[in-house]
């Protein structure tokens, strides 16, 4: 066990190291050099640009820049090009904004996809199953940017309430309950949008898992012994949820980091 954990830690560290190099290279390769200078503004002479480059070590070779980057990262001195704010603080601020979105999104995903998936599995091949299949593929297939536009426009033009931002602009002095509900409302649309694909995928997954478990010998034995269907279903459900929970942590990180859910 210990050796397994040890080996896995070593492997992950090496992987992380390579990830750091590759991500550094990608950022470097990505067009757009970090600086506040707009090269097409006549006020910026090449000399000023040169000075900016020097200040931010952009004139140094790549590996030196890499070392600088990690020195700054670990000493916490990373500073944004744009406005001289500490980067970690900026990321943390925005993370705090994304977190509730993600939590609500995950809640919606998990609470909705289990009932749907389980019911599909029980009535496999029936109308309900086919409809659920169709709907979940519909949600996977709809282009997010298109769907979001339609949703925003219809909410604003038909319900006449704001949907953008984290809160209604200038709500500051309402009651706490008011403010909280206002926040929830503003979270609703983006988290539902973020959850659509999740619901579709997870409900399919639950369905597959249930069917998988149903075929296992111990369930067959239980059935043969005449255990009530509800107990079997529960066992079935718990084992499915355990399998899925394993993937939860990685999903969590992935959803927070993946820009596609914000597309």
């Amino acid at each position: 066990m210990v050796s397994f954990i040890g080996r896995s830690v070593v492997q992950k560290t090496i992987t992380l190291f390579f990830v750091s190099i590759v991500s550094f290279l990608i950022i470097h390769l990505a067009p757009g050099k970090p600086s506040q200078v707009n090269p097409l503004n006549p006020k910026f002479t090449p000399e000023i640009m040169e000075r900016f480059r020097k200040e931010f070590h952009l004139d140094k070779p790549l590996y030196i820049q890499y070392i600088y980057y990690y020195r700054d990262l670990f000493t916490g001195k990373t500073v944004s090009w744009k406005d001289n704010q500490p980067v970690l603080k900026k990321i943390w601020d925005r993370f705090l904004n994304s977190l509730p979105l993600f939590v609500v999104g995950t809640l919606i995903t998990w609470t909705l996809s289990f009932p749907v998936g389980i019911r599909s599995a029980i009535y496999r091949g029936g109308i309900y199953d086919r409809t659920a299949t169709f709907l979940s593929y519909f949600l996977i297939s709809i282009p997010g940017f298109f769907f979001a536009y339609i949703l925003i426009i219809s909410v604003v033009t038909h319900l006449h309430v704001p949907v953008i931002g984290m809160e209604t602009f200038g709500i500051g002095n309402g009651s706490v309950f008011h403010v909280i509900n206002d926040r929830i409302w503003h979270m609703l649309l983006p988290s539902v949008l973020g959850a659509t694909a999740g619901i579709a995928v997870l409900s399919r997954y639950v369905r597959g898992q249930m069917l998988e478990v149903e075929n296992q010998d111990y369930i067959r034995t239980a059935k043969a012994k005449g255990l009530p269907a509800a107990v079997i279903l529960t066992v079935n459900f718990v084992s499915a949820i355990l399998v899925l929970a394993g993937t939860f942590i990685s999903d969590l990180l992935y959803l927070v980091a993946d820009p596609r859910i914000r597309l």
Binding site: L62, G125, F134, S141, F145, F146, L211
Partner: protein
């Protein structure tokens, strides 16, 4: 179609435990007919394919019948099915069907022609990108699954690191350091070949034992590479590369392909791992059949089903990715139309010209949905465990 009726008929066929009455193909068609969603998906897919091919024929060439780049500024933002104002147009500007089937966009270009042209783009992007990713996926997954237990020696890693580093350095113009690294990598080649007879008696030198030590198994290496690739949000990766390379449809296909092979690799590896232990493989090995024959004749046909399923669904997501890229303005350069850039050009006019958003949006939805449904159907059909339970 009444599903309950279908189910009963199947039971009738599967009950007697005899040799299958139908060929594989018949069985396939039968199951497809039974799963009407998948059938619908296939039908739409075929329809889409025909549209794309006719679209290609009708919109390309120097004097195409439907010219998707023809600008008629005076006819901008006409709604679908409206008749052109003939008095405002030069003879060569008149649309061939004498009607704007799907309206015109903000520069007065015929949306129908643009959709036709875009269909071909979507189709090729889907197929080429997935082709690339499946190819890489099968290759990597196959190696990881079949040769997974083979170990790579330190010296091999050293060789490749030096080689890649050297070439990289030469590319970025530090010739000297690059050459040194390249020579170093050549020098490690010495260790590749076992030094033969003498070494068995002597205690091997420390350096050599380190170099020849088994560092990492093939399987671990490949799966770690997969991990690394999965660490990056692929959309960001694609954006970076697309911004760097000149905008062209081929680059986009290749990039999408190169960033989406990880799933297939995992599938294929899992499939190979389990198949490798099966009796028929052991039998083949006992008969002395070569590794490659075993892989391609015996294992691959059994492993191809999940790959096909994931490829079908992969096409759907490749089409979506391309549309997303075009939507963000990183797609194919104008005046070439894709569904994504029709949508992106049209979104500013959503109040004045909603068809510019809805037509491409719904087209993407339908095509992607058809691929997904078909893929899902394939999965059911190929899954014998689920099939027999009907």
């Amino acid at each position: 179609m009444n599903p309950t009726e279908e189910t009963t008929t199947t039971q009738m066929y599967t009950e007697p435990l005899l040799a299958p009455k139908r060929t594989r193909k018949q069985e396939f068609m039968h199951l497809l007919g039974q799963n009407w969603l998948a059938g619908l998906g296939l039908f739409i897919f075929i329809l889409f394919f025909c549209c794309a091919v006719t679209g290609l024929l009708l919109t390309s060439g120097s004097k195409p019948i439907f010219d998707p780049a023809m600008i008629r500024l005076q006819e901008k933002l006409r709604p679908p099915l409206s008749k052109p104002h003939l008095e405002l147009l030069n003879p060569e500007q008149i649309p061939p069907l004498n009607v704007y089937l799907m309206g015109t966009d903000d520069l007065g270009r015929d949306v129908f022609s643009r959709m036709l042209q875009g269909a071909w783009v979507s189709l090729t992007v889907g197929f080429v990108a997935v082709g690339i990713s499946v190819f890489i996926g099968i290759f990597m997954g196959g190696i990881a699954g079949y040769f997974g237990q083979h170990y790579i020696k330190t010296v091999h890693i050293l060789f490749f690191l030096c080689l890649i580093g050297g070439i990289g350095l030469i590319i970025i113009n530090s010739i000297f350091a690059g050459t040194v690294l390249l020579l170093l990598s050549l020098s490690t080649l010495v260790f590749f070949f076992p030094s033969g007879h003498g070494s068995a008696e002597k205690e091997p030198p420390v350096l050599k034992s380190i170099l020849m030590a088994n560092a990492v198994s093939m399987d671990t290496l490949i799966m770690r590479i997969v991990d690394i690739m999965l660490c990056f949000p692929s959309f960001f990766l694609i954006l970076t590369v697309v911004a760097l390379l000149p905008a062209s449809i081929y680059n986009i296909m290749i990039v999408i392909g190169l960033t989406s092979w990880m799933g297939t690799t995992r599938f294929v590896r899992a499939e190979f791992l389990s198949l490798r232990e099966q009796d028929f493989v052991a039998a083949a090995k006992a008969l002395g059949i070569g590794n490659f024959r075993i892989i391609f004749r015996h294992i691959m046909p059994n492993a191809i089903a999940p790959v096909l399923v994931s490829a079908t669904i992969g096409i759907a997501s490749a089409i979506l990715t391309e549309a997303g890229l075009s939507f963000l303005g990183f797609g194919v350069p104008p005046p070439h139309a894709t569904w994504g850039n029709i949508l992106s050009d049209g979104k500013n006019f959503i109040f004045d010209a909603p068809w510019l958003t809805f037509i491409p949006g719904i087209a993407i939805l339908i095509v992607v949905l058809s691929f997904n449904l078909f893929g899902e159907g394939l999965r059911d059909i190929f899954n014998p465990k689920l099939r027999e339970r009907h």
